[in-house]
Symmetry: C2
Subunit: 386 residues, 2 copies
């Protein structure tokens, strides 16, 4: 944490936990009898509750999207770039809600939580959750917070899939959908990358078929490999070339199998850090939610027909060097929305940073995002109160 | 094996083993006191020994490039598409030599061979070999076979790197260099993919730091993951979409972690098959040779200066959807060759098949390859005897 909290940060924030007792029937047919959702809010809800926006997180994200938990925090929340006073998601104007999804490992009910039926952690018995299940649970959180209609639902990557699902599942409950670096469904290549990552975890002998908590172990090696692979695919070839080139850690080849190139050390570091902070069963669940997402499947595989149910306006953004969720995938969404006669703005942002770009302060990205959010405020509440 | 050997196959072939007693000093400084190379030949060496071509193999390849070892063989050699009577590398005209590289696991001296100093398998103590070491060993094999000058040295991927190295290491010993789907050096992204694969192997508890032979185990899980990842990156996103789409093995989602999408089953199958046929230490060595290859490093990182030593003509070919060894990487070679005033032909072949395209019967690829090899024959021996 900096010595002084920057003016454009939401500052110190405290997560809250909401308990739910009403059973939630999941896409898989299984039922969560009760569960908790952990969330944070930034900014103030206005009198007519019209300025609320929901942030949906991606694979490894959580509820802590902005600000600091304590003065000892080294880093702010994961989307500090975009959330705060004067930023695109301007907390002087919007009431921002950010939660950890079901199945997560940051405080919402997930594999590390106690299964009330057994008194032990769920572990691998935690049900596989689908994007629609998250949206249902998010709607219940909105009910508790007294938010009938979101001014906007916003997310990148897997978060963008939740936004798309919101637009067709509760069309009357959001005015704007912001879908960033996302896709209407994963490609075979994306599913394949996820499966290689899952195999790395599942084959780690410390995984114990997901019962590592009971065994007092952690499948760190598997999770590290999964993260190394993920991280590598979130960067573009260009970004890696600029960042690492073929630089050698010690300036010369050692003819050994120890990490020699800087890119190797970097990935090792990222992988190891992740392997102690993230839960392996959650990683398995999140990747499955990604693989399964395909809202057009229920509409004769016709995305236009699927999205014709939406009633909100859309902003879709993509990044030129993102090859996990390439611009062409965002354009499938845009094309379907235009065919379905929806209002959609689209920006493909020039960037060298691959999929990770949606987390970075790229001027045109922030500018377009901010301008669009101005319109969201204008249409949702400021125009009304002027 | 088909019931009848096709007319355009070299048919039944028998590998030969050549023993070398002269010590080979490697790039790493270590010395192989003696070693064997296993190789196959197809076609007949002509009287003035001017029709010989050398095939250099890629990461998981070996000496068995064409034909069948027995009538029970289910598959021919790995480059049957391009080698045989009437094919681009026409065995009616050329004498083709194909060997397994040092460090390999198909019969040449490598990690599974007995270390004469210990009487046990080398295992992880087999020295790391560089592309230049392979070229040196290939030159010694040429000496034994009485081949002073190759009509052409030919290879794809890591094989193409050996061809480039031949052109500068023994410039007077080849007339043509055919470099297919290759690169002048790996990018950071490529190195990163290799490191993730190596980690998968090294972290497999059955790897035992490379001493699995002594422990009577095989790091099958790690090798399977490495191969799944490799295979995935050799295919293009388009090829995977066409081949698998998002088809489900059983027609519906099971909400389980078992392979559900066809692309997952395919990769599992490929990975498992590989994990029993390939040696893990060899995989480690081959990927390191790839990472280290960077011939311009000794020439102020100036590829033009490096390639100016070459005296042969070049054919360079790339494939549009190959993202591991993208056309832009081949074009770096072409640009440097033109700047160095060398004769170079270049074709970027339209293909959906990613890096694997160089093994496939793509009409324009075979046509250009064949036409160029006509010229090789004409310039190397047919013109002379006409």
């Amino acid at each position: 944490m900096p010595d002084v909290i920057p003016n454009d940060s939401v500052g110190l924030v405290t997560p809250q936990i909401q308990h739910f007792d009403e059973p939630l029937t999941l896409r898989s047919g299984r039922v969560l009898e009760k569960y908790d959702l952990i969330y944070e809010t930034y900014g103030e809800l206005n009198a007519d509750r019209s300025n609320a926006v929901l942030i949906c997180h991606a694979l490894s994200g959580d509820h802590h999207a902005a600000g600091y938990h304590s003065m000892d925090d080294k880093k702010p929340g994961w989307w500090e770039t975009c959330i705060g006073p004067g930023k695109p998601i301007d907390t002087n104007r919007f009431f921002v809600v950010s939660l950890n999804n079901l199945g997560g490992c940051a405080g919402s009910t997930g594999p590390t939580s106690t299964n009330p039926e057994t008194g032990k952690p769920y572990g691998p018995e935690f049900p596989i959750v689908a994007v629609r299940d998250w949206v249902n649970s998010q709607a219940r959180l909105a009910d508790v917070l007294g938010i009938d209609v979101w001014a906007a639902v916003i997310g990148g990557s897997l978060g963008g899939m939740q936004v798309l699902r919101w637009s067709i599942q509760f069309p009357e409950r959001l005015k704007h959908a912001v879908v960033i670096a996302s896709a209407p469904k994963l490609s075979a290549q994306n599913i394949a990358f996820n499966e290689v990552a899952r195999q790395a975890i599942a084959k780690d002998p410390d995984f114990h078929d997901g019962w590592y908590q009971e065994k007092n172990t952690l499948p760190k090696a598997g999770l590290m490999q999964a993260r190394m692979l993920g991280h590598l695919t979130y960067l573009s070839d260009d970004a890696m070339r600029q960042k690492f080139g073929r630089e050698l850690r010690e300036g010369k080849l050692n003819y050994s199998f120890a990490p020699e190139f800087q890119v190797e050390s970097y990935l090792h570091y990222q992988g190891e850090k992740f392997s102690t902070r993230f839960d392996a069963n959650t990683y398995m669940l999140m990747t499955k939610a990604l693989d399964y997402f395909d809202p057009a499947r229920d509409h004769d595989n016709d995305l236009r027909k699927c999205l014709s149910q939406a009633q909100c306006r859309f902003l879709v953004m993509s990044f030129t060097t993102d090859w996990r969720f390439a611009p062409a995938r965002s354009e499938e969404i845009v094309n379907a929305l235009i065919h379905a006669d929806k209002e959609v703005s689209y920006a493909c942002i020039e960037s060298d940073n691959g999929h990770d770009a949606f987390l970075l302060p790229i001027p045109r990205y922030l500018d377009i995002f901010q301008a669009y959010m101005d319109g969201v405020a204008e249409r949702s509440f400021e125009g009304a109160t002027a």
